[in-house]
Symmetry: D2
Subunit: 278 residues, 4 copies
């Protein structure tokens, strides 16, 4: 690999590996710039992305494919200039949505957001403020709603769907259209408190920490590969309302991290788990 | 209450209240010194406990009982001079045991430890070093083992049983003899991963944080009132062995906190939850 | 106190005490509802505030003043119906501002925000979106700028000034007009890395955690009573830009908590410290 | 590198890289087993170390040296079978010492501990229990004390000195004998509260989190490269004694992590910072 990259004039910026000895799997993430602008300061995304536009993707691919096949590798190649197209879904709670939009505007999330979809109208003004087209899709019959949603996503060329506290369960059919490309935030420390009303359940159980989890969506509810989790300390003084309020901060953060890592191609899925190269 | 304490010459050091509006319950913890040594520096436990020995427990009780009855109060009164008698149970893993014994020796835990009980002999030398009598009780048939254990506990006047990674499940009969007086540490963030091998389960699920929980033991396995929980961040790089190693630090800490709080009478149980006045 | 409140028909919802034995000080915070609507659900702010409007503030004050004087108490009384008037200041970084405004809109912060002040124009659209009047005050000569700012604050009846990453240092004269009523967020774990460019300093020192601190502003830079702090783990992989990005989440959270606690009258200052009754 | 290792029959278990683009430095840590026992389960340290004993260190070195020189590399090579010889120093507080010794006995720390040195006698029994020779060296005149200590360390072939709450300041002369090989724990979140009595200083300043820091010792007090830090939340209720008690848990953990990472050769120093490959 290193030799090949060297040959193609790549200046490796980051290289991460991971080996799962149990399963006999090897994972690698390599980020490189082209030789010319080796003086491009790290983190200066725009200057790094410049050369990658002139990178000969097709040539590299035809050269690398047989090598990868020989090693039994599954691989993907991205140019940093490409900004993935992301759809944001939400229901009536807007804290995650407002947070993602602000981060996007501030340049923290390298993507396009061509559409916001909701079964509520609360988000409309926020969408407008950030200049993102808003599409209302009533929840009604799921089959119809999803047909409309999928049509929208397709027409907008969406590559990643982010469920920013979207309270409808997606059908297996929908999920299968975006494998490892739908990120959800669940307001508990999974696998504790799956399903509805996790803060109520946490309060009833009397836990001393509450959590939030971002994960890829699979057919099984709240069961997909976990991307990020965080917790906050609570006490007997905290009522359900307090857990909800404390939890909002956790949800915002674990969802935003998951989206950023996904966009930066830092996440590899295998089995029902993730490798996150941070 | 305040007036009564005032009348008895009590100088209130700490007073904590909590109201569960949902259940209509009110909780209170009051810690006081007698008037004389009001200059006793807070935290200087010995000087505070001195006067409480001369406190007229019987007199106060007969005066307070009708008042409490009128208000529908359940109450308890302790003198700080009394050092509860604690039995420590363990199996082959000794990290929690070594930690508790060191804290005890260092004065962090205000109690007597008249006996260490184990179904393994690994702890014997440690017990000897700290000068605590060790009793080996083979796990064998649970009924017999527990009969022997209960006999021991009774003969030693034990008030609190601490399960410091004791890997046997106690019978309802045993548990009923020490209501809200058996503290266990479970090596997961309950209610996630109850039962055996929680670190394996956590690894399989691919969580990003592992946890540990200390709780009172009830008839239902890993279901009693939670006293304390803590978590540590892990990553895809961590194998089960790493989780076990990281987890040991969590277990030590959540168990030690629970024991200290219990000894300091900071924990009130209700329903299946705890109020911890820290 | 309890008797007096009882007499006035108060139904105590929360009562917190703290004693500083070293300094011989006693702190108390009591939150109550009036007897009538004792059935008002806790946390339902609007219904709780209703009765307090009819509370006889003047009568209670004249009754309580001599008692307080006798006990050497400094005290304040607020009705929950009163929503404090808050001015938000910022410079070019908008993450704290966007966060506070979203929380305000979502009902997390019980206050009015009659004005946003900045020495930059970046915040203008955001202010407009949330319907808050925006005032540009060029930094230029501090004396003039502050004169204009103070005039604004006075005309708007401002009770609390929140510096949401406002990068100008306020003069002692300004500070003296709002004692314990200016909240700042500093992007380090104070007292480490006071002054300018704390993330650069943290990177140079090679710390393994970065922090953020919210505090009341006093004459000494970054030295006022600390209200809240939080930290996040970093590693050698993180460059200054990464610290800045990670830090933004900390800043948002510690500032929002400080503002909420101040508005809920949970903070008492003494010496150069705070008591926060959460 | 990879090619050379491949040629020598190395089966790479872990490989970590880090690049400091600012300073133009590149860091790498590679851990490998020999081909034969490639089936050696990861984490099973003993089986991994077996083959490394038969590794041709001299041959590899003579082959690698010119390559390294060409690339301007500073490098070191260790066999896992070698257990570094560690001296533990302490004064009267024994919590870190007891913790390290327990971890060592439990197999968490891969090293020999041929000596414990103290200017107090409190640790003597603990040393005896763990079968470690104890040497009392009175603090008295530093020059004399250090001469005696250095003599001891030399005679025991010590490679790493761990200051487990050792309250004497080492001279530059002493420090220069063990460059990047003396680990200290400081009971604050450095660089805040350097020097004596950090918990008192933290209490006076009114911080909301306390911390502990493990670091390599250099000539400047509390200024060496930071290895690990952690913090715990405190409140206005906590007096200095409480900070001390809470802090003990932090100190134990950050020191133990630093020692383990050092022994596992996970730490690289540069400038005044560390790269920790975990």
């Amino acid at each position: 690999m290193s030799s090949l990259l060297y040959e193609w004039g790549a200046n490796i910026l980051h290289a991460d590996q991971h080996q799962d000895h149990e399963l006999g799997l090897f994972f690698m993430r390599v980020e490189w710039a082209l030789d010319g602008p080796a003086e491009a300061p790290l983190g200066s995304a725009s200057s790094v992305s410049e050369p990658s536009q002139s990178f000969d993707f097709a040539g590299f691919t035809s050269r690398f494919t047989p090598l990868a096949a020989e090693l039994g590798m599954r691989w993907k190649l991205w140019g940093k200039a490409h900004r993935p197209r992301v759809a944001l879904f939400c229901s009536q709670y807007l804290h995650c949505m407002a947070d993602l939009l602000h981060r996007w505007r501030a340049g923290e999330l390298r993507c396009e957001i061509p559409v916001i979809v909701s079964n509520h109208r609360d988000v409309e003004k926020l969408a407008e403020f950030y200049g993102v087209p808003f599409e209302f899709v009533a929840s009604g019959r799921r089959e119809e709603a999803e047909a409309r949603q999928l049509e929208l996503l397709e027409s907008k060329g969406i590559e990643l769907v982010v469920l920013a506290r979207y309270m409808q369960i997606l059908s297996p059919k929908f999920v299968s259209r975006y494998p490892e490309s739908i990120i959800n935030v669940h307001h508990s420390f999974l696998p504790a408190f799956t399903g509805a009303k996790p803060y109520h359940a946490a309060h009833t159980r009397g836990v001393k920490l509450i959590g939030a989890t971002s994960h890829y969506v699979t057919d099984l509810l709240d069961d997909g590969p976990i991307i990020e989790q965080d917790v906050a300390r609570i006490s007997h003084r905290d009522q359900v309302e307090d857990l909800v309020a404390r939890g909002r901060d956790l949800e915002r953060i674990v969802l935003a991290r998951a989206v950023r890592w996904h966009l930066d191609r830092r996440i590899l899925c295998y089995g029902n788990k993730t490798v996150v190269f941070d």
